[in-house]
Amino acid sequence: MKIRYLVIITISLSFLSLFVGVSRITPMNLLDFKSEETEIFLISRLPRLVAILLAGAGMSIAGLIMQQLSRNKFVSPTTAGTLDATRLGILVSMLLFTNASTIEKMIVAFVFALAGTLLFMQILDRIKFKDAIFIPLVGLMFGNILSSIATFFAYKANVIQNMSAWLQGDFSMIMKGRYELLYISIPVLIITYLYANRFTVAGMGEDFSKNLGLAYKRVVNIGLILVALITTTVVLTVGMIPFLGLIIPNIVSIFKGDHLQKTLPHTALLGAIFLLICDILGRVLIYPYEISISLMVGVIGSGIFLYLLFRRKAYA
Protein backbone atom coordinates (compact mmCIF):
# COMPACT_ATOMS: atom_id res chain seq x y z
CA MET A 1 0.00 0.00 0.00
CA LYS A 2 2.13 2.84 -1.24
CA ILE A 3 1.00 6.31 -0.27
CA ARG A 4 1.42 7.36 -3.89
CA TYR A 5 -1.24 4.92 -5.09
CA LEU A 6 -3.62 5.98 -2.36
CA VAL A 7 -3.26 9.61 -3.42
CA ILE A 8 -3.92 8.72 -7.07
CA ILE A 9 -6.99 6.66 -6.13
CA THR A 10 -8.31 9.45 -3.92
CA ILE A 11 -7.94 12.01 -6.68
CA SER A 12 -9.59 9.86 -9.34
CA LEU A 13 -12.49 8.93 -7.07
CA SER A 14 -12.90 12.57 -6.07
CA PHE A 15 -13.15 13.49 -9.74
CA LEU A 16 -15.71 10.74 -10.31
CA SER A 17 -17.70 11.86 -7.26
CA LEU A 18 -17.92 15.41 -8.59
CA PHE A 19 -19.57 14.30 -11.81
CA VAL A 20 -21.94 11.61 -10.53
CA GLY A 21 -25.47 12.64 -9.65
CA VAL A 22 -28.99 13.43 -10.72
CA SER A 23 -28.13 16.55 -12.67
CA ARG A 24 -25.67 15.82 -15.41
CA ILE A 25 -22.63 17.96 -15.01
CA THR A 26 -19.64 17.62 -17.27
CA PRO A 27 -16.30 19.34 -16.85
CA MET A 28 -17.17 21.33 -19.98
CA ASN A 29 -20.16 22.92 -18.21
CA LEU A 30 -17.85 24.43 -15.65
CA LEU A 31 -16.20 26.58 -18.27
CA ASP A 32 -19.33 28.66 -18.24
CA PHE A 33 -19.22 30.31 -14.83
CA LYS A 34 -22.81 31.45 -14.83
CA SER A 35 -24.46 28.22 -15.91
CA GLU A 36 -26.86 26.34 -13.66
CA GLU A 37 -24.48 23.40 -13.70
CA THR A 38 -21.65 25.45 -12.29
CA GLU A 39 -23.93 26.64 -9.53
CA ILE A 40 -24.95 23.11 -8.58
CA PHE A 41 -21.33 22.13 -8.73
CA LEU A 42 -20.28 24.85 -6.31
CA ILE A 43 -23.24 24.65 -3.95
CA SER A 44 -23.72 20.91 -3.76
CA ARG A 45 -21.10 18.72 -5.42
CA LEU A 46 -17.94 20.36 -4.19
CA PRO A 47 -19.10 20.73 -0.57
CA ARG A 48 -20.22 17.10 -0.67
CA LEU A 49 -16.82 15.95 -1.84
CA VAL A 50 -15.00 18.02 0.79
CA ALA A 51 -17.35 16.70 3.47
CA ILE A 52 -16.73 13.10 2.43
CA LEU A 53 -12.96 13.54 2.38
CA LEU A 54 -12.85 15.26 5.76
CA ALA A 55 -15.35 12.95 7.46
CA GLY A 56 -13.67 9.84 6.07
CA ALA A 57 -10.19 10.89 7.10
CA GLY A 58 -11.41 12.30 10.42
CA MET A 59 -13.41 9.31 11.61
CA SER A 60 -10.61 6.90 10.65
CA ILE A 61 -8.05 8.94 12.57
CA ALA A 62 -10.41 9.21 15.54
CA GLY A 63 -10.69 5.42 15.55
CA LEU A 64 -6.94 5.03 15.25
CA ILE A 65 -6.29 7.30 18.24
CA MET A 66 -8.85 5.46 20.34
CA GLN A 67 -7.45 2.06 19.47
CA GLN A 68 -3.96 3.22 20.27
CA LEU A 69 -4.85 4.79 23.61
CA SER A 70 -7.13 1.99 24.79
CA ARG A 71 -4.71 -0.62 23.45
CA ASN A 72 -7.60 -2.49 21.94
CA LYS A 73 -8.09 -3.01 18.22
CA PHE A 74 -11.87 -3.07 18.50
CA VAL A 75 -12.42 0.23 20.26
CA SER A 76 -13.67 3.10 18.10
CA PRO A 77 -16.19 5.94 18.34
CA THR A 78 -18.84 3.36 17.39
CA THR A 79 -17.86 0.79 20.00
CA ALA A 80 -17.02 3.09 22.89
CA GLY A 81 -20.17 5.13 23.19
CA THR A 82 -18.60 8.29 21.72
CA LEU A 83 -21.14 8.55 18.91
CA ASP A 84 -24.07 7.97 21.26
CA ALA A 85 -22.74 10.49 23.77
CA THR A 86 -22.45 13.04 20.97
CA ARG A 87 -26.02 12.39 19.93
CA LEU A 88 -27.22 12.78 23.49
CA GLY A 89 -25.33 16.07 23.61
CA ILE A 90 -27.02 17.37 20.47
CA LEU A 91 -30.40 16.43 21.90
CA VAL A 92 -29.66 18.21 25.17
CA SER A 93 -28.56 21.32 23.31
CA MET A 94 -31.79 21.23 21.29
CA LEU A 95 -33.97 20.84 24.36
CA LEU A 96 -32.17 23.43 26.47
CA PHE A 97 -31.69 26.11 23.85
CA THR A 98 -34.50 25.87 21.37
CA ASN A 99 -32.80 27.98 18.77
CA ALA A 100 -29.32 26.74 19.36
CA SER A 101 -26.81 27.97 16.82
CA THR A 102 -24.45 25.47 15.27
CA ILE A 103 -21.61 26.60 17.50
CA GLU A 104 -23.72 26.19 20.64
CA LYS A 105 -24.79 22.73 19.55
CA MET A 106 -21.22 21.94 18.75
CA ILE A 107 -19.95 22.98 22.19
CA VAL A 108 -22.59 21.04 24.11
CA ALA A 109 -22.16 17.98 21.91
CA PHE A 110 -18.38 18.21 22.27
CA VAL A 111 -18.64 18.29 26.07
CA PHE A 112 -20.89 15.22 25.99
CA ALA A 113 -18.66 13.36 23.54
CA LEU A 114 -15.61 14.05 25.67
CA ALA A 115 -17.37 13.13 28.91
CA GLY A 116 -18.75 9.93 27.38
CA THR A 117 -15.34 8.87 26.08
CA LEU A 118 -13.64 9.72 29.38
CA LEU A 119 -16.26 7.70 31.23
CA PHE A 120 -15.64 4.76 28.93
CA MET A 121 -11.88 5.00 29.55
CA GLN A 122 -12.58 5.02 33.30
CA ILE A 123 -14.72 1.90 32.94
CA LEU A 124 -11.90 0.37 30.91
CA ASP A 125 -9.43 1.05 33.74
CA ARG A 126 -11.64 -0.76 36.21
CA ILE A 127 -12.26 -3.85 34.10
CA LYS A 128 -9.92 -6.61 35.19
CA PHE A 129 -10.83 -8.95 32.38
CA LYS A 130 -9.22 -7.21 29.42
CA ASP A 131 -10.30 -9.49 26.63
CA ALA A 132 -10.07 -7.96 23.16
CA ILE A 133 -13.70 -8.73 22.34
CA PHE A 134 -15.14 -8.13 25.79
CA ILE A 135 -14.14 -4.46 25.97
CA PRO A 136 -15.93 -3.30 22.80
CA LEU A 137 -18.99 -5.23 23.99
CA VAL A 138 -18.93 -3.21 27.20
CA GLY A 139 -18.56 -0.09 25.04
CA LEU A 140 -21.55 -1.06 22.89
CA MET A 141 -23.67 -1.62 26.00
CA PHE A 142 -22.53 1.70 27.38
CA GLY A 143 -23.44 3.36 24.07
CA ASN A 144 -26.85 1.73 24.06
CA ILE A 145 -27.57 3.02 27.56
CA LEU A 146 -26.73 6.56 26.43
CA SER A 147 -28.76 6.04 23.30
CA SER A 148 -31.82 4.87 25.23
CA ILE A 149 -31.58 7.91 27.51
CA ALA A 150 -31.51 10.08 24.40
CA THR A 151 -34.48 8.27 22.87
CA PHE A 152 -36.48 8.62 26.09
CA PHE A 153 -36.03 12.38 26.27
CA ALA A 154 -36.53 12.78 22.54
CA TYR A 155 -39.81 10.87 22.86
CA LYS A 156 -40.90 13.06 25.78
CA ALA A 157 -40.09 16.19 23.82
CA ASN A 158 -41.52 14.91 20.56
CA VAL A 159 -38.30 15.27 18.63
CA ILE A 160 -37.76 11.61 17.73
CA GLN A 161 -37.98 12.30 14.01
CA ASN A 162 -35.69 15.25 14.29
CA MET A 163 -33.21 13.14 16.17
CA SER A 164 -33.18 10.30 13.70
CA ALA A 165 -31.95 12.82 11.16
CA TRP A 166 -28.50 12.59 12.71
CA LEU A 167 -28.85 8.92 13.49
CA GLN A 168 -28.49 8.29 9.79
CA GLY A 169 -25.35 9.61 8.27
CA ASP A 170 -26.29 11.28 5.02
CA PHE A 171 -24.32 13.31 2.53
CA SER A 172 -27.27 14.34 0.36
CA MET A 173 -28.06 17.18 2.77
CA ILE A 174 -24.56 18.55 2.56
CA MET A 175 -24.61 21.92 0.90
CA LYS A 176 -22.70 25.12 0.96
CA GLY A 177 -23.23 26.68 4.39
CA ARG A 178 -24.00 23.39 6.12
CA TYR A 179 -20.71 21.57 6.25
CA GLU A 180 -18.08 24.20 7.06
CA LEU A 181 -17.86 22.96 10.66
CA LEU A 182 -16.00 19.98 9.25
CA TYR A 183 -13.00 22.18 8.53
CA ILE A 184 -12.20 21.88 12.23
CA SER A 185 -10.93 18.40 11.34
CA ILE A 186 -8.01 19.90 9.43
CA PRO A 187 -6.19 21.45 12.41
CA VAL A 188 -7.14 18.38 14.45
CA LEU A 189 -5.47 16.12 11.88
CA ILE A 190 -2.36 18.30 11.94
CA ILE A 191 -2.16 18.17 15.74
CA THR A 192 -2.62 14.41 15.58
CA TYR A 193 0.32 14.16 13.23
CA LEU A 194 2.49 16.27 15.53
CA TYR A 195 1.54 13.99 18.44
CA ALA A 196 1.90 10.76 16.45
CA ASN A 197 5.03 9.59 18.25
CA ARG A 198 3.58 10.34 21.66
CA PHE A 199 0.39 8.43 20.83
CA THR A 200 2.45 5.47 19.68
CA VAL A 201 4.42 5.45 22.93
CA ALA A 202 1.24 5.87 24.98
CA GLY A 203 -0.16 2.87 23.13
CA MET A 204 2.52 0.72 24.73
CA GLY A 205 1.08 1.33 28.17
CA GLU A 206 1.50 3.65 31.12
CA ASP A 207 4.63 2.04 32.58
CA PHE A 208 6.31 1.93 29.21
CA SER A 209 5.46 5.61 28.60
CA LYS A 210 6.74 6.68 32.00
CA ASN A 211 9.98 4.84 31.37
CA LEU A 212 10.50 7.02 28.32
CA GLY A 213 9.64 10.17 30.25
CA LEU A 214 6.28 10.74 28.55
CA ALA A 215 3.50 12.59 30.39
CA TYR A 216 1.11 9.69 29.85
CA LYS A 217 -2.10 11.13 31.32
CA ARG A 218 -1.73 14.39 29.43
CA VAL A 219 -1.17 12.64 26.11
CA VAL A 220 -4.21 10.42 26.67
CA ASN A 221 -6.37 13.43 27.50
CA ILE A 222 -5.21 15.33 24.43
CA GLY A 223 -6.00 12.28 22.32
CA LEU A 224 -9.50 12.01 23.71
CA ILE A 225 -10.15 15.71 23.14
CA LEU A 226 -9.12 15.29 19.49
CA VAL A 227 -11.42 12.27 19.13
CA ALA A 228 -14.35 14.12 20.68
CA LEU A 229 -13.78 17.13 18.39
CA ILE A 230 -13.72 15.05 15.22
CA THR A 231 -16.73 12.98 16.22
CA THR A 232 -18.79 16.03 17.15
CA THR A 233 -18.16 17.86 13.91
CA VAL A 234 -18.91 14.77 11.82
CA VAL A 235 -22.11 13.84 13.65
CA LEU A 236 -23.37 17.44 13.53
CA THR A 237 -22.80 17.87 9.81
CA VAL A 238 -23.10 14.40 8.27
CA GLY A 239 -24.57 12.19 10.97
CA MET A 240 -23.39 8.92 12.41
CA ILE A 241 -21.03 6.92 10.23
CA PRO A 242 -20.58 3.55 11.90
CA PHE A 243 -17.64 1.14 11.51
CA LEU A 244 -15.38 3.55 9.67
CA GLY A 245 -13.17 4.24 12.70
CA LEU A 246 -13.08 0.55 13.39
CA ILE A 247 -12.15 -1.10 10.11
CA ILE A 248 -9.87 1.42 8.41
CA PRO A 249 -7.20 1.59 11.17
CA ASN A 250 -7.31 -2.20 11.49
CA ILE A 251 -6.70 -2.75 7.81
CA VAL A 252 -3.81 -0.29 7.81
CA SER A 253 -2.37 -1.86 10.96
CA ILE A 254 -2.23 -5.28 9.33
CA PHE A 255 -0.12 -3.97 6.46
CA LYS A 256 1.79 -1.10 8.00
CA GLY A 257 1.96 -1.82 11.72
CA ASP A 258 1.16 0.59 14.54
CA HIS A 259 3.79 3.28 14.21
CA LEU A 260 1.44 6.24 13.95
CA GLN A 261 3.85 8.54 12.21
CA LYS A 262 3.99 6.02 9.37
CA THR A 263 0.35 4.93 9.37
CA LEU A 264 -1.50 8.23 9.84
CA PRO A 265 -1.40 9.34 6.18
CA HIS A 266 -2.48 5.88 5.02
CA THR A 267 -5.30 5.73 7.53
CA ALA A 268 -6.61 9.18 6.59
CA LEU A 269 -6.47 8.48 2.85
CA LEU A 270 -7.92 4.99 3.06
CA GLY A 271 -10.77 6.33 5.21
CA ALA A 272 -11.52 8.97 2.60
CA ILE A 273 -11.32 6.41 -0.24
CA PHE A 274 -13.60 3.98 1.54
CA LEU A 275 -16.19 6.64 2.21
CA LEU A 276 -15.96 7.92 -1.37
CA ILE A 277 -16.58 4.44 -2.75
CA CYS A 278 -19.55 3.91 -0.42
CA ASP A 279 -20.98 7.29 -1.36
CA ILE A 280 -20.59 6.81 -5.12
CA LEU A 281 -22.13 3.32 -4.91
CA GLY A 282 -24.98 4.68 -2.80
CA ARG A 283 -25.67 7.30 -5.45
CA VAL A 284 -25.45 4.93 -8.40
CA LEU A 285 -27.12 1.73 -7.18
CA ILE A 286 -30.74 2.93 -7.12
CA TYR A 287 -30.26 5.96 -9.35
CA PRO A 288 -31.89 8.51 -9.36
CA TYR A 289 -32.50 7.85 -5.65
CA GLU A 290 -29.82 7.55 -3.01
CA ILE A 291 -28.87 5.02 -0.36
CA SER A 292 -27.75 6.84 2.77
CA ILE A 293 -24.08 6.64 3.61
CA SER A 294 -24.60 5.05 7.03
CA LEU A 295 -26.46 2.17 5.41
CA MET A 296 -23.78 1.69 2.75
CA VAL A 297 -20.95 1.88 5.25
CA GLY A 298 -22.89 -0.31 7.66
CA VAL A 299 -23.36 -3.09 5.12
CA ILE A 300 -19.88 -3.05 3.59
CA GLY A 301 -18.21 -2.19 6.89
CA SER A 302 -19.81 -4.94 8.92
CA GLY A 303 -18.76 -7.44 6.26
CA ILE A 304 -15.15 -6.31 6.53
CA PHE A 305 -15.42 -6.22 10.31
CA LEU A 306 -16.55 -9.86 10.38
CA TYR A 307 -13.66 -10.76 8.13
CA LEU A 308 -11.24 -9.02 10.49
CA LEU A 309 -12.71 -10.88 13.47
CA PHE A 310 -12.28 -14.27 11.85
CA ARG A 311 -8.87 -13.40 10.56
CA ARG A 312 -7.78 -12.45 14.05
CA LYS A 313 -8.86 -15.82 15.37
CA ALA A 314 -6.83 -17.60 12.73
CA TYR A 315 -3.91 -15.43 13.76
CA ALA A 316 -4.00 -16.09 17.51
Binding site: N197, M204, K210, L212, G257, Q261
Partner: protein, 253 residues
Amino acid sequence: MIQVRELSKFYGKKAVVEKVNVDIHRGKITSFIGPNGAGKSTLLSMVSRLLDADTGEVLVDNDDVRKMKSNDFSKRVSILKQSNFMNVRLTIRELVSFGRFPHSKGRLTAEDLRIVDQSMDYMDLMEMQNDYLDELSGGQRQRAFIAMVIAQDTDYILLDEPLNNLDMKHSVQIMKILRRLVDELGKTVVIVLHDINFASVYSDRIVALKEGRVVKDGPTNDIINSEALKEIYDMDIPIKQMKNCRICVYFDS
Protein backbone atom coordinates in the same frame (compact mmCIF):
# COMPACT_ATOMS: atom_id res chain seq x y z
CA MET B 1 24.76 4.85 43.33
CA ILE B 2 21.05 4.57 44.03
CA GLN B 3 20.21 5.06 47.68
CA VAL B 4 16.86 3.94 49.00
CA ARG B 5 16.04 5.54 52.34
CA GLU B 6 13.23 4.48 54.68
CA LEU B 7 10.98 3.74 51.73
CA SER B 8 7.44 2.53 52.46
CA LYS B 9 4.32 1.79 50.46
CA PHE B 10 0.95 0.99 51.95
CA TYR B 11 -2.10 -0.52 50.32
CA GLY B 12 -4.83 0.40 52.75
CA LYS B 13 -3.26 -0.27 56.11
CA LYS B 14 -1.07 -3.11 54.93
CA ALA B 15 2.53 -2.21 54.25
CA VAL B 16 3.78 -3.85 51.06
CA VAL B 17 7.16 -2.25 51.45
CA GLU B 18 8.17 -1.04 54.89
CA LYS B 19 11.08 1.21 55.80
CA VAL B 20 13.43 -0.24 53.24
CA ASN B 21 17.03 0.95 53.14
CA VAL B 22 19.14 -0.34 50.28
CA ASP B 23 22.21 0.89 48.42
CA ILE B 24 22.55 -0.11 44.79
CA HIS B 25 26.19 -0.02 43.80
CA ARG B 26 27.39 1.28 40.47
CA GLY B 27 28.71 -1.16 37.89
CA LYS B 28 27.19 -4.22 39.51
CA ILE B 29 24.25 -6.56 38.99
CA THR B 30 22.02 -6.46 42.03
CA SER B 31 19.27 -9.07 42.29
CA PHE B 32 16.11 -8.65 44.33
CA ILE B 33 14.96 -12.06 45.57
CA GLY B 34 12.35 -13.27 48.01
CA PRO B 35 9.08 -15.16 48.24
CA ASN B 36 5.94 -14.05 46.40
CA GLY B 37 4.41 -10.89 47.80
CA ALA B 38 7.67 -9.80 49.41
CA GLY B 39 7.42 -6.40 47.74
CA LYS B 40 10.25 -6.82 45.22
CA SER B 41 8.35 -5.45 42.24
CA THR B 42 6.76 -2.69 44.29
CA LEU B 43 10.18 -1.60 45.50
CA LEU B 44 11.53 -1.60 41.95
CA SER B 45 8.52 0.39 40.73
CA MET B 46 9.08 3.04 43.39
CA VAL B 47 12.77 3.33 42.60
CA SER B 48 11.87 3.86 38.94
CA ARG B 49 9.07 6.33 39.74
CA LEU B 50 6.33 4.16 38.25
CA LEU B 51 4.79 4.18 41.72
CA ASP B 52 4.85 6.99 44.26
CA ALA B 53 6.28 6.06 47.63
CA ASP B 54 4.21 6.89 50.70
CA THR B 55 7.22 7.71 52.83
CA GLY B 56 10.98 7.80 52.38
CA GLU B 57 13.11 8.85 49.47
CA VAL B 58 15.16 7.51 46.59
CA LEU B 59 18.38 9.22 45.57
CA VAL B 60 20.01 8.59 42.20
CA ASP B 61 23.60 9.81 42.36
CA ASN B 62 22.48 12.08 45.22
CA ASP B 63 19.50 13.58 43.35
CA ASP B 64 16.05 13.05 44.79
CA VAL B 65 14.05 11.24 42.08
CA ARG B 66 10.85 13.08 42.92
CA LYS B 67 12.50 16.40 42.14
CA MET B 68 13.81 15.31 38.74
CA LYS B 69 11.99 16.18 35.53
CA SER B 70 10.56 13.01 33.99
CA ASN B 71 12.53 13.55 30.82
CA ASP B 72 15.83 13.92 32.69
CA PHE B 73 15.01 10.93 34.83
CA SER B 74 14.36 8.79 31.78
CA LYS B 75 17.86 9.57 30.53
CA ARG B 76 19.37 8.21 33.74
CA VAL B 77 17.19 5.32 34.85
CA SER B 78 15.26 2.90 32.65
CA ILE B 79 12.82 0.22 33.70
CA LEU B 80 11.42 -2.81 31.93
CA LYS B 81 8.38 -4.37 33.55
CA GLN B 82 7.29 -7.95 33.04
CA SER B 83 6.51 -7.65 29.37
CA ASN B 84 2.78 -7.98 29.72
CA PHE B 85 0.43 -8.26 26.80
CA MET B 86 1.93 -6.58 23.79
CA ASN B 87 -0.40 -6.40 20.86
CA VAL B 88 1.17 -3.34 19.35
CA ARG B 89 2.49 -3.99 15.88
CA LEU B 90 5.89 -2.31 15.81
CA THR B 91 9.01 -3.58 14.15
CA ILE B 92 12.12 -4.20 16.23
CA ARG B 93 13.76 -1.15 14.67
CA GLU B 94 10.78 1.05 15.54
CA LEU B 95 10.76 -0.17 19.11
CA VAL B 96 14.49 0.31 19.59
CA SER B 97 14.20 3.79 18.06
CA PHE B 98 11.74 4.72 20.78
CA GLY B 99 14.57 4.14 23.23
CA ARG B 100 15.89 7.45 21.90
CA PHE B 101 12.61 9.20 22.69
CA PRO B 102 13.87 10.89 25.90
CA HIS B 103 16.82 12.28 23.94
CA SER B 104 15.25 13.27 20.64
CA LYS B 105 11.44 13.27 21.10
CA GLY B 106 11.01 11.15 18.02
CA ARG B 107 13.03 13.29 15.62
CA LEU B 108 15.97 10.98 15.23
CA THR B 109 19.33 12.57 14.51
CA ALA B 110 22.19 10.80 12.76
CA GLU B 111 23.68 10.19 16.19
CA ASP B 112 20.41 8.58 17.38
CA LEU B 113 20.32 6.32 14.33
CA ARG B 114 23.90 5.25 14.99
CA ILE B 115 23.03 4.34 18.59
CA VAL B 116 19.91 2.46 17.46
CA ASP B 117 21.98 0.43 14.99
CA GLN B 118 24.62 -0.21 17.63
CA SER B 119 22.05 -1.40 20.17
CA MET B 120 20.43 -3.80 17.72
CA ASP B 121 23.82 -5.05 16.68
CA TYR B 122 24.76 -5.59 20.32
CA MET B 123 21.66 -7.72 20.84
CA ASP B 124 22.20 -9.55 17.55
CA LEU B 125 18.91 -8.30 16.11
CA MET B 126 20.16 -6.69 12.91
CA GLU B 127 18.89 -9.44 10.64
CA MET B 128 15.35 -9.30 11.98
CA GLN B 129 15.14 -5.55 12.53
CA ASN B 130 12.09 -5.23 10.28
CA ASP B 131 10.15 -8.09 11.87
CA TYR B 132 7.06 -7.22 13.89
CA LEU B 133 7.18 -7.75 17.65
CA ASP B 134 3.97 -9.76 17.73
CA GLU B 135 5.53 -12.30 15.38
CA LEU B 136 8.62 -12.93 17.52
CA SER B 137 9.30 -15.61 20.11
CA GLY B 138 9.37 -14.62 23.79
CA GLY B 139 13.15 -14.62 23.90
CA GLN B 140 13.52 -12.50 20.78
CA ARG B 141 10.98 -10.02 22.06
CA GLN B 142 12.76 -9.72 25.40
CA ARG B 143 16.00 -9.09 23.51
CA ALA B 144 14.29 -6.37 21.49
CA PHE B 145 13.14 -4.64 24.67
CA ILE B 146 16.62 -4.84 26.15
CA ALA B 147 18.00 -3.37 22.93
CA MET B 148 15.56 -0.49 23.39
CA VAL B 149 16.85 0.07 26.91
CA ILE B 150 20.43 0.00 25.64
CA ALA B 151 19.45 2.67 23.09
CA GLN B 152 17.89 4.67 25.90
CA ASP B 153 21.45 4.75 27.21
CA THR B 154 20.81 5.13 30.92
CA ASP B 155 23.39 4.39 33.60
CA TYR B 156 20.86 2.37 35.56
CA ILE B 157 18.77 -0.40 34.07
CA LEU B 158 16.02 -1.94 36.19
CA LEU B 159 14.29 -5.13 35.09
CA ASP B 160 11.24 -6.70 36.67
CA GLU B 161 11.34 -10.46 36.18
CA PRO B 162 12.80 -10.43 32.69
CA LEU B 163 13.04 -14.23 32.67
CA ASN B 164 9.30 -14.73 33.05
CA ASN B 165 7.93 -17.11 30.43
CA LEU B 166 11.36 -17.74 28.95
CA ASP B 167 12.78 -21.21 28.50
CA MET B 168 16.18 -22.20 29.92
CA LYS B 169 18.15 -21.37 26.83
CA HIS B 170 16.72 -17.88 26.49
CA SER B 171 16.96 -17.21 30.23
CA VAL B 172 20.66 -17.99 30.15
CA GLN B 173 21.05 -15.86 27.04
CA ILE B 174 19.37 -12.87 28.69
CA MET B 175 21.42 -13.19 31.88
CA LYS B 176 24.64 -13.39 29.88
CA ILE B 177 23.64 -10.25 28.03
CA LEU B 178 22.99 -8.42 31.30
CA ARG B 179 26.40 -9.55 32.54
CA ARG B 180 27.97 -8.10 29.38
CA LEU B 181 26.09 -4.82 29.83
CA VAL B 182 27.71 -4.47 33.23
CA ASP B 183 31.16 -5.77 32.37
CA GLU B 184 31.57 -4.19 28.92
CA LEU B 185 29.42 -1.07 28.98
CA GLY B 186 29.71 -0.24 32.67
CA LYS B 187 25.94 -0.22 33.26
CA THR B 188 24.34 -0.82 36.62
CA VAL B 189 21.65 -3.49 36.49
CA VAL B 190 18.97 -4.19 39.08
CA ILE B 191 16.84 -7.22 38.47
CA VAL B 192 13.93 -8.95 40.18
CA LEU B 193 14.40 -12.71 39.96
CA HIS B 194 12.39 -15.70 41.01
CA ASP B 195 15.01 -18.36 40.45
CA ILE B 196 17.68 -18.00 43.12
CA ASN B 197 20.16 -19.97 41.06
CA PHE B 198 20.17 -17.32 38.34
CA ALA B 199 20.71 -14.77 41.10
CA SER B 200 23.51 -16.88 42.54
CA VAL B 201 25.35 -17.45 39.29
CA TYR B 202 25.02 -14.03 37.63
CA SER B 203 24.67 -11.30 40.25
CA ASP B 204 27.28 -9.41 42.23
CA ARG B 205 24.99 -8.46 45.05
CA ILE B 206 21.70 -9.78 46.36
CA VAL B 207 18.96 -8.00 48.26
CA ALA B 208 16.51 -10.40 49.86
CA LEU B 209 13.07 -9.16 50.81
CA LYS B 210 10.41 -10.78 52.91
CA GLU B 211 7.06 -9.31 53.89
CA GLY B 212 8.07 -5.86 52.71
CA ARG B 213 11.34 -5.70 54.61
CA VAL B 214 14.93 -6.28 53.65
CA VAL B 215 16.11 -9.39 55.42
CA LYS B 216 19.50 -9.80 53.74
CA ASP B 217 21.63 -7.42 51.71
CA GLY B 218 25.17 -8.12 50.63
CA PRO B 219 27.58 -9.68 48.15
CA THR B 220 26.18 -12.82 46.50
CA ASN B 221 28.46 -15.19 48.39
CA ASP B 222 27.23 -13.92 51.73
CA ILE B 223 23.61 -14.59 50.84
CA ILE B 224 23.84 -17.89 49.03
CA ASN B 225 24.35 -20.11 52.05
CA SER B 226 21.96 -22.39 53.84
CA GLU B 227 21.50 -20.23 56.96
CA ALA B 228 20.68 -17.05 55.08
CA LEU B 229 18.31 -18.85 52.71
CA LYS B 230 16.57 -20.44 55.67
CA GLU B 231 15.86 -16.97 56.99
CA ILE B 232 14.55 -15.75 53.63
CA TYR B 233 12.51 -18.69 52.41
CA ASP B 234 11.88 -20.78 55.58
CA MET B 235 13.36 -23.75 53.76
CA ASP B 236 16.42 -25.87 54.39
CA ILE B 237 18.28 -25.49 51.14
CA PRO B 238 21.55 -27.35 50.62
CA ILE B 239 24.16 -25.57 48.48
CA LYS B 240 26.31 -27.46 45.99
CA GLN B 241 29.48 -26.01 44.55
CA MET B 242 29.81 -26.72 40.81
CA LYS B 243 32.89 -25.20 39.17
CA ASN B 244 32.60 -21.55 40.34
CA CYS B 245 28.85 -21.64 40.69
CA ARG B 246 26.96 -22.15 43.88
CA ILE B 247 23.73 -23.96 43.16
CA CYS B 248 20.83 -24.07 45.58
CA VAL B 249 19.19 -27.47 45.51
CA TYR B 250 15.74 -26.52 46.73
CA PHE B 251 13.69 -29.11 44.91
CA ASP B 252 13.60 -31.62 47.76
CA SER B 253 13.68 -29.55 50.92
